[in-house]
Amino acid sequence: MPIEFKKNRALFRDEVSVEEAEALLEWLQTRPTAKVDLSACSHLHTANLQVLMTAKAGVSNWPKNAELRSWLEPALKSGE
């Protein structure tokens, strides 16, 4: 599973496809304080990204992939 949902944290792994976005949205809707761990994520589809941005989800770990991190950090930080 590209996203592993835990109690209050979602782990993104490898490529997170567009098909995950709906589940992510539902999960975040009920967990306003949830955080996402992107460390093992190499790519996430735009649909997931906009869910994270809209939810202003906190990021517990940034992607290890520096290039991806450099995209996500400004976009998701501004939401915090």
Binding site: E4, S39, L49, V51, T54, N61, W62, K64, E73, A75
Partner: protein, 830 residues
Amino acid sequence: MSPVPPNPLLEQFISESRDLLEASGKKLMQLEDAPDDQVILNELFRCVHTLKGNSGLFTFPEMTRVLHAGEDLLGMVRSGQAIYSRELADRLLDAMDYVGLLCGEIEATDGIDASRALESQHLADALRKLMPNLIPNQDAAAVRDGDSPVVANAQTSPADNPSADLKQFAAIPAVARKSALERCRQGDQLHWISYRPQRECFFHGDDPLNSARQTPGLIWGRILAPGPLPPLSELDTYSCLLGFDLLTNAPREELDQYYRYLPDQVEIIAVPAQWLEKGHGDADGASKALSRAIPSGSFSEDDEAAFNWILAAQRQILLLDDRPAWHAGRLKAIAEVLANLSQAVGETSTRSDIQTALAEALSTGHNTLLLAWLDAWIVTRKTIQPVAGLSWARGTDGIMAAAKTDSNLDVGSATAGDPSKAPADEGVRFGRRAEDSLTGTRSLKVDQTKIDRLMNLIGELVVEKNALPYLAQRAEVQFGSRELSREIKGQYSVINRIADEMQDAIMQVRMMAVSFVFQRFPRLVRDTSRKLGKEVQLVLEGEQTEADKNIIESLADPLIHIVRNSLDHGLESPEVRLAAGKPATGKLTIRAAQEADRVVIEIVDDGKGIDPAVIKQKAYEKGIIDEATLERISDQEAINLIFAAGLSTAAVISDLSGRGVGMDVVRSAVEKINGTVVIESELGKGTSIRISLPLSMAVTQVMVIESDGQLFGVPMDHVIETVRVTRDSIHAIKQTKTAVLRGRIVPLKSLNTLLGIAAIPRLNSDDELAVLLVQAGNAELGLIVDGFQETMGVIQKPFSGFLTGLSAYSGSALMGDGSVLMILNIREIV
């Protein structure tokens, strides 16, 4: 795909092309009867279209040119811009023939001779002439507007374009800005891309973030939400709300190419250097600060992020494994950026290291050296303290982060438990099962040599198994073990059954429908009858009748000859037919059917028939028959003379039926594959030719006969029956021995005499001679032999070397005991 294709692909191309050419020819022919049939027209178009597409996989411009013209013309016919006509069909058929010719040439030589270019041009021009407005060549124009869509034109001034507001550039961090300016100084043109994906873009398979990340020459980019994001509860997951701003140094053409699917969603603006240089408060200050080689400690968090950004970008570029023309320039630019970065953090001494790595990278053409330097620098660079959370470039931190993640995962899978995994596995397995059920009927194209090899092996098995009865006999006679003998016989019957089934199976594989040959006829009949000014209706029946591939293939030439003969000599011109009270359109029927273990093909026309008197006279004139024969020969026998060598009945030898080469060629070709040909004709009513062929020629059933202590094989195709004849029932008429067998007088000949063996035929204890009644051509003959043995299936091997001169034998076969059986060529010896 390289211009020189791998061989299997070329073979596939040739084979598929032939199929498509045949289908095209057929469709063209059908279209002639139903010019308005859109279904046929579409199918024809698709054939030509596919042919052209396939030819483009290779470098065969001669072929592609002609097919392209054909496709364009058919496209116009389809859309009603051009009219289907006989001429159009003729030109297209010419083109298809030419392509077929090229296929043959490619197959033989792996290429097309350069001299073909002119012919190809002529054919293409001929096709294009039939188009309403002579369009010399469309591709150039089509490619232009198809491949390079005009994206937003480069803007020269930001004032012309609100989205190119200079304020945009304020968002670019100082380090990125400096890096970009550096590129400008290197001579690169910078571009600003404003990418605003359509809301429904996800449903087109787009992933804008991915597209943005992969943008060529990326120096900097950001994600933004152009409009306000809705509350989470109202978010439509699949409606794209995000946009991207990107700064790149890739050439305009490369960007246009990259974004060619999204011309309406991106705006690409050329950015002159001064736009970036214009003061924007902090950014400019940071840029200047960087230029002064500020001490690392004074980096702001933003600067640090931008610094890392640039490093990551350089690394990303170095990881590209393509080799564009500007590769060297790219490496130099990276080296320059790295040098500036190292200077910016006060590491001036690294500059020479970078130069060394660059020089090596340039001389070897490999990025790896620069990349290695960069990675090493990233790891060892300790001068800048990491900002909290920035662990990406630091070896140790990275490892720690990974370890942490792993432990998290373990906990995760334990709490989530197996149930979450089980359904996924189930889904996968279910999917696979469903896919398996899709197999249905599948066919496999196999190289014929492989089938031949298999057939030869099975053939050998069939022969080798025949050794077992001998072995059983030896076990009993020589070693006195009846039990062993019985067991061997038991095993033999099992192996025998399996071998028979294998033989049957391989025969099935080799079976081919006669349609393979028949499908050429519509075209042949059409072209020939038009040339002769005759109206002919062709009727094909039993096209699905099957026979061995070799049989079918060797049938083609004789059949074509017969059909040409019918068209040329048999069927009359419309005027003659009308005068004779027949319909103006002649009818030619080609019919195939299976009869027992033979396939029978009949070619029937309702033409003028063969006049026995004319044949007799001709045969006499040419010295084929003498005067005595001329007087007593029957009409049927006279008609059979048409198969005699050197007889041509047409008053004028037309070039169509083969320049005077007569039906004798047909007969010998048919007989070569153990077939027979019979002709019947009624003057004024028509002619019917009947060819009978074995279904398979791989295994020949022979009857083994004995004469003067030697064994010979006689193909069962020739054997009518075996009889015993008492010596006194043999009579001599003139010099020929004869006997009355079942009410008919049959000439008898001794096999010994025919083969030049001195011994006289042996009589059995009842004073009887063994006579094998055989069919030799149209005549029956009794062959006197010493005795009959069993019939068996053998694989006949033709003679090679000096033995080929032995016309009395058609070949040899290996017997189960290892001895060689000579197979008699009945027609030759009598």
